[in-house]
């Protein structure tokens, strides 16, 4: 009996130890990456291309874009895709996410990031941070899971709005009325820069 208690105690102990370890690991990893991005942004000597390149390198290592692509499409739709379509969709989606992240960098103006202690939610870890600007404070929740290549972010909640969730509803809306070809076409044709330029032109005239 004593031995069982001992074993149980020992197991619980190591489990908690491992848990603390995991949390610390994730915290350190994300903090490091966030700080990397910020230091790149604050470095005024870099030109735009270098800056974007560096940031993309960091986020590629932090986010699991492929899983994000898979999750942004509901299972019932994903099952009906051919292998080729799956590939095409993943590529388009990943490109889009990267572009939109890089494009956001232009809005950066000396915001600071505050970190809360990370929390274990089932198998995954949720890491709450705040983006503090001069007049507002946005919450950013990173959801991290353990992949084969270490801890990776699979979703980001900005002010409680999940990126994956918004894509799921939007894709659902498109696919309910159209086919996967329509969706791919939409993802392809959607050119950020062309859209901005057009808008600016509209605003000027």
């Amino acid at each position: 009996m004593k031995i069982i208690f001992f074993v149980l105690f020992f197991m619980v102990g190591t489990y908690q130890f491992a848990l603390g370890d995991e949390l610390a690991e994730v915290e350190e990893l994300l903090k490091e990456n966030v700080e990397k991005v910020i230091s790149v942004l604050q470095d005024k000597t870099l030109d735009l291309k270098e800056r974007n390149q560096k940031v993309v390198n960091v986020i590629n290592a932090t986010f699991d874009f492929q899983l994000m692509a898979r999750l942004s499409l509901q299972k019932k739709y994903w099952m009906n895709l051919t292998e080729e379509q799956k590939k095409e969709f993943t590529d388009l989606f990943v490109n889009r996410l990267q572009d939109s992240y890089v494009e956001k960098l232009d809005l950066y103006s000396d915001e600071k990031v505050e970190f809360e202690p990370p929390k274990k939610v089932k198998k995954n870890i949720h890491f709450l941070t705040y983006l503090v600007s001069k007049d507002s404070r946005y919450s950013m929740l990173y959801k991290v899971y353990q992949s084969k290549k270490g801890w990776k972010v699979y979703d980001l909640e900005i002010q409680g709005v999940s990126v994956i969730h918004t894509f799921r509803t939007q894709f659902d809306g498109v696919l309910r009325e159209g086919t996967i070809a329509d969706l791919l076409e939409k993802l392809k044709s959607h050119d950020f820069n062309a859209a901005t330029a057009k808008q600016l032109e509209e605003a000027v005239n």
Partner: protein, 327 residues
Amino acid sequence: MVFWPAEPTSFQVKMFYFKKIILCLWFFHFVYVSSADARLSLDSEGVSSLKSPAAFSKFIEFQFEHSWDHLQPHILGLSVQAIPTDRETLDIPDTVTDDEDLFFEEEFVNEFEKEFNKTADSKVFDPLSGYNRFMTQVNDKFYFYLLKPIANGYRFILPQGIRLSVARFFKNLLFPMHFVNNILQFKFKQAGVEFARFGLNTTIGIGGFWDPAEYWLDLNSYPEDFGQTLGYYGVGGGFHLVLPILGPSNFRDLIGLIGDMYLDPICYVGTCYAGHGEIALSLRSSKTINTTSLHIGEYESIKKDALDLYTFIRDAYEQKRKKEIKE
């Protein structure tokens, strides 16, 4: 114009000068506070103090050269420049699918699926989608053709420090709303923080133009509105509704908005209820313009991200409210 009573009593004369002095103090404080941000950024440039005359003149020079830094030509619409993302020149592999383990095992993905299905289980109730879509377009046009050009002009005239002060002033006025709704939700600690913030910021922060509660004591605001209070007591969102100018909302939050009007000082200053709404209207529009001037580029960025703007905004709004109520 009656500027002076026929025979001023000594008390009235004293009050007259007292008011002048307070006004002057306020003005100087205002200038001081609004230049604080610039001074902070100067410090980060390497000038550690402004005590010596040389440092001061450098500060003035810096102010002069850099106060309009934030005005980028493409935001002002002076020249249309596409922001280069340059996929070709960047070292990003164009296809990610060459990886051998691209597709995940179904069992593994199912767990994540469950998570997202759970958050999605309460679908947004949207019987007015036709009208809502139309109103989203109207608001979009309103932003690009009216609000944004005005906010840009305003931004051109006033430096950021002053605009931030104005934003703090309007935020301070939201105190009655935050306080009462925190109490109604039994969040007494948060209500206490709001009370302390209001007390400090109105006195030491001179009418709320400065925020000592946050700068010195790290007391952040806990914004709660009546819509959240209703949600706290279990009232569901009802149908989604896009309001003219104000943007996305739903039935519950519309009721909340009306409730909040009774706790809004701006309404009492300008008599929202009694017909003469000009003052309230002008105060409200300056608030909107000021806020917009501090956030130009954000809506554009959201719009670019969205595959379908209306669905995106609606979904984001409902998720955000759900989270705010849960907290």
